[in-house]
Symmetry: D3
Subunit: 308 residues, 6 copies
């Protein structure tokens, strides 16, 4: 019988670009300690760049990745010097999705001595993996994600948890999970329909696992801007992030928190929460500073806002 | 005074194409017993084709139709040989909507001897008619609907309960109910806004009863693909259905169920339900089979999945 | 230090077009008593035109405006001669948003002698301002809004509470609040994501405060039609309003109420409410009248429907 | 090893009272065709008595029972001659709960060739069993349940779906499921906490499987009245049912429907639904008739209300 | 045929105690202008007493009452000198409920020329009547209601919208609506089940319209204290109100608002709202003042808190 | 002016019993490392006893406590040897609530340089403190809490997050927060109304801060059993915990998880979740083992269940 191990080798071979190409495309020299899958940099004031950085494995999501993301975004959430995050992928493409080889033992070798106990253990694991992307949403700083090449499987779970999506003209997206026998369970089925407007398209993508290319991604609203190539996109993403980072963090982060709250509540509930939120936040000096700058015809980026 | 009865005759005449044309366009020879309004066929492995089949009445929805749909989809939900459903209309167009002539007695001749009792009886009927389309949603097998010609009134209620919408270049859609003095009450007002992204367009369609043509249906996301003609569309629909039917039914049906659950819940609730769902579903052999096929570079369609 | 007062003068100067131009563009001779910011007219049968009318101040929303809108729409809700509302702006543009100069004392000079009491007072004010746009939604008559020139800040809060959005080719939209240091709190963050399909675009607009022009407004679904100029748009808006006003008010207003209910509830809940709604509304004579007109090939506009 | 089969025999023996005692206590001569587990009678005008009637098996819930209840209550829901339902148990006690012997094959011999398929099949079965008690709630006629002797396991699921609970002084209640290794899944965990006010007590009962006797059932609010013996209780239940049956069915059934709606919604939502409900129901002649009777000092029971 | 008019006269006669008795029992000299049904007094610092004051009509709720309550509680909500409200009834009993004679024309003489239009008008009226009691809940000041004699029909709707319920030993409560042919539609069905713990009792009361006396009202939790007579109760109510009024209004009113919010939301949502609420309210000086008083062994009532 | 520091000293003195008395009453020799406020022991198989252990400070909740609870319950949630938790307090009483002296700097010395930033920081802290008790709820093992002496302020937040509440005859409970100028924000306002059935009582307790003694705690359903003294109570609590711990952990923990889920959802949603939960959990061997034991007339405690 065909062995899983040799299949893995073959499978990997298919995807591996030559090492030199990968290095050339990667924007950094390697992961940032203590991370092994993420490279962190600061391309602009108050902007943090988180790069998926396992280019030789096509940024496939291995065990380390799932916990490093949580640690990384919990740090960013608490870091007053970070006001906006840009996420992108090093190497040939954004991400090939879950690293089946690395994760197989975790998911396919169930723990427990009967079905209930295996189920119990699996539920805890799924919840843990879901948290990997939910931290992006819980982090009050806006997250701009920039996709090039391909964004497959788990990658779609990741980007739908981000706030603004950009891509290159050569990018494609694929909800891959049905092809490996499972319903996507770390966010795509929950967030994708709330991220794009066409339910027919969501179902089409999730049920046929077909690729969606940049143009359809733009016209369907999955991404809000398409760039000719990765370099232009990263430049654009950092510029956009800088625009946001230059504004009042009280305004920006309050906006993100309330937009997410409103997604999950009725309009009336969202308004009530908003009023309760702003009864204190409107007392910030940032409003005075911003209003004055506005009247002096200086943009908000000229103002210095205190840390939050 | 103008009589209702004669008006009905005239009205019908307006719509009736010649019988020969109708027959030529119809893809089957007639309804499938015990149904009188539906023709059932099996164009591909595990794919069931449900054709609205009263072409000489423009597939208008008569009393029989409302209960046959329920029986049909409850059967399909339980039939392990059916993994995907394609719905289309026989004859000149998809459907002219509710068959007012046939239904008038039901809706317009109220039962009961005071307003409360008439209301009571009407509520029960509306709930029953709503069920006719809700069964499509409750059936865990994906439903691809292929619209040609026209889709009017009740037709829009029907297609918004389906999972994937396709149409021909000559198709148009019309939320017709306000034109006959009522607020659409069997699903359009509930589902259309969750099916397309533009609320302004939803309101425009529902309040003016104007026609929307294929191009706008595509750009607004109501349909995900437009085909040049009916033949191409049916071929495309069956192909797409075949693609889906070839994948793991555990994955496909779990995907549908969770997508619908997520529509009606917050993201956090959707994720919790998903984890509770997959704690057992991930234990399926389909994952192993699919993963192995994937690694052997065989598509999921080469795998034989057990019935569900 | 730069003084707020002088800044205000400068700021105003920047925006003020010459008085003659403003008058020429304004469609009415002035506000309608008792209103000082709104001009009310009746361009067609059962159609009420509400024009924001402070053209020399670019229809900026001052103290009077916030309460006049509530009074106006509560009146319209109860007025049986009004079946549809058209909203537009007099002068050079739709609205420059909140009138910071007029409102500053209200929002920036907090009442109360400690943080809790200031917060309490602010919450009450925000809730009051929110009501200014929520009345549009609570008014069961459909509201068509026609935007030309620019729609800034509070203007976006206003239009997202309307049912159908139209604009001119030269119109642009701007979620301005982050630029003055606050999270938009009178509706934009709650309604915009439920009005257009692309969440990435919503976040982009709300976080960068960039302008969105007519073409993107159309492709994203914010507006359902774009007109070459204001005159064509107002003509189109009144025509569309007339179309709707000619139909059964029982059908039309029931449609609006149920569409809004469904936005905030699950499909199952929406269907239940709909059935409970229509158990009485279906007993209206309007259904008989409309059905008969339809069969006589007369449009619904030929029917005279009783007031509601 | 101890065999299941012989255990079953022993187990049954433990519970079986002598046949003569059972017959003496049963209020009817046997099940009413086509039912094999239910005896239907009409002890008072518009009152239907549904008696669990397998006294020799302690009214344990076997396969037939689960579907007969659904058929029975769907019939009652549609039967205009039934306005109130009384449920009780024939023989020595109310019910011993699920008939493990009869149901074991259904639940313990899973269908399907892998965990996912077994799970799929089990989920469908659980949903079907849940429906057995949910029909009681969906039936708009009030259901008074009268418990004597014991109410164990599935019996608690049953009675918490009823509207009014009565018991005899010798009755006890037991949430039994944890004792056989499962979380109660046909309603107790969902309804019991909404039926009695003490959450500590709910948890105590559900986690320790201890018996609760009549006095605690009364003081905790599980039952609203305790009777000295079964005869007094049945008399009391039928009297109470008669009281309710004598009132306007529009009022009574509308009350039940709205009470259940309100349980599952916020107060604001409940009020909105109520207003939409009563906008038609207040138009009933029953209000006039009842008001007149009230003024004439005749009770509502002297009025003849039309069927509903 | 028995005439409605003469019946009314008889009906009234039944209930009318002699005028002298009524005057003796009434705690005030008459309604407080501009009110005709309410007497307002200030029995203690920051405590407002609202007395239903139509003793000769048993405080039956007439047209005037329904709007005066709204005006009264909206005033109290905005009045910084009112921190707690006590509600009671003048004369022989708390309230006989809706004044059918006065209201009949409003409810029983429907406006509109077909069923839909009558329904429309009724829905608006019901919503208006619901608001009469919802204002009690929207008023952030705690409302203590003190019931003596009887509390019938609309009276139960009223008291379930209050925060704390007290009664005399001779008081009884009756959900009367089914007796006059309608489902209670101004709050009882929505609030009673969330006010007392036994659902069986709620259904019993609402479906049989039986009286519940003080002891059961106490043991079921409807009231939290029972007093021997009216005088003792009013004294107790004012004392309790004084206790509450002496505490920080920021703490007290925030507590009421969050308790009501939590009733209608999940625990997780309630906690989130609470944190967003207190992020400003904790900054109040009242915490410092209260903490200091507590440490000095002075009660909170010795502290002077600023108005809110 | 009266100084806070000296007040603190006085305040502490009031509460401090003599050290010897405290030690005598404490059931353990001191906190269990690494904890400084909690003593952990294992009084029965699979039962963990968590004792609040700062008897000399009346178990007041200091900084360490808030994080130790989280660590402790997260550990217990993951520890397969723990199946049930008993919580009690060492020394003279259960807990005096929050340790104002220790926490003051945290809550009363706000971080940040304007109101918005202080609010931001406070919100994060409140959320963190809320988590201290929410972990009790998230831990799937049932938690039995045994209260003696007094349970004040934060203590009520704690016990309402537990599953079963017991107390001694001398115990009293006090929702203390309004007395120190704030609305209780770590759980009491959210959970208490869902824990006891009388809303009038909840409001009474939360608004007057009065003490509730054991008898009222029992009759209101706050506790499910009252014991004569602490020793009897601890014995009873451990016995009850042992009863639960002896049952299938799949059944017990599934019961807790679904009871909490149902509290926050409609009955229909709760049933759906339950079915999805049990589709795997019913496949456990524990059902077979338990059923067999039951038939052999052995209790569930005789069965050995695998770890979960």
């Amino acid at each position: 019988m065909f062995s899983l191990r040799s299949a893995v080798r073959q499978y990997r071979g298919l995807w591996l670009p030559s090492a030199s190409v990968v290095r050339a495309m990667s924007s950094s020299t390697g992961p940032t300690a203590p991370f092994t899958t993420l490279a962190i940099s600061h391309p602009a004031k108050s902007v943090t760049h988180v790069e998926l950085h396992r280019p030789e494995k096509l940024n496939a999501m291995n065990s380390a990745f799932w916990s490093e993301m949580v640690e990384c975004f919990n740090d960013l959430a608490a870091d007053p010097d970070c006001r906006v995050v840009v996420v992108s992928g090093a190497g040939r493409l954004f991400t090939a999705g879950i690293d089946l080889m690395d994760m197989a033992s975790d998911v396919l070798q169930p723990q427990g001595d009967d079905t209930a106990r295996i189920s119990w253990s699996l539920r805890r694991k799924i919840a843990k993996y879901q948290e990997t992307f939910s931290v992006i949403e819980k982090c009050p700083k806006p997250v701009v994600v920039a996709v090039h090449g391909a964004c497959i499987g788990g990658g779609v779970d990741l980007i739908t948890a981000c706030d603004i999506r950009l891509c290159t003209q050569d990018a494609w997206f694929q909800v891959k999970e049905v092809d490996i026998g499972l319903a996507a369970d770390v966010g795509t089925l929950q967030r994708l329909p709330k991220v794009i407007g066409s339910r027919s398209l969501v179902n089409d993508l999730a049920l046929t696992a077909r690729r969606m290319y940049a143009d359809e991604a733009k016209s369907s609203g999955l991404v809000s801007r398409v760039f000719p190539d990765k370099e232009a996109m990263i430049t654009g993403a950092v510029e956009m992030a800088g625009e946001i980072a230059g504004r009042s963090p009280v305004a920006v982060q309050g906006t993100k928190i309330n937009l997410i709250y409103s997604r999950d509540h009725s309009v009336a509930e969202g308004l009530d929460y908003m009023a309760t939120w702003n009864m204190s936040m409107l007392q910030t000096d940032d409003v005075i500073k911003s209003a004055q700058a506005s009247m002096e015809k200086k943009g908000p980026k000229t103002v210095t806002f205190s840390k939050l």
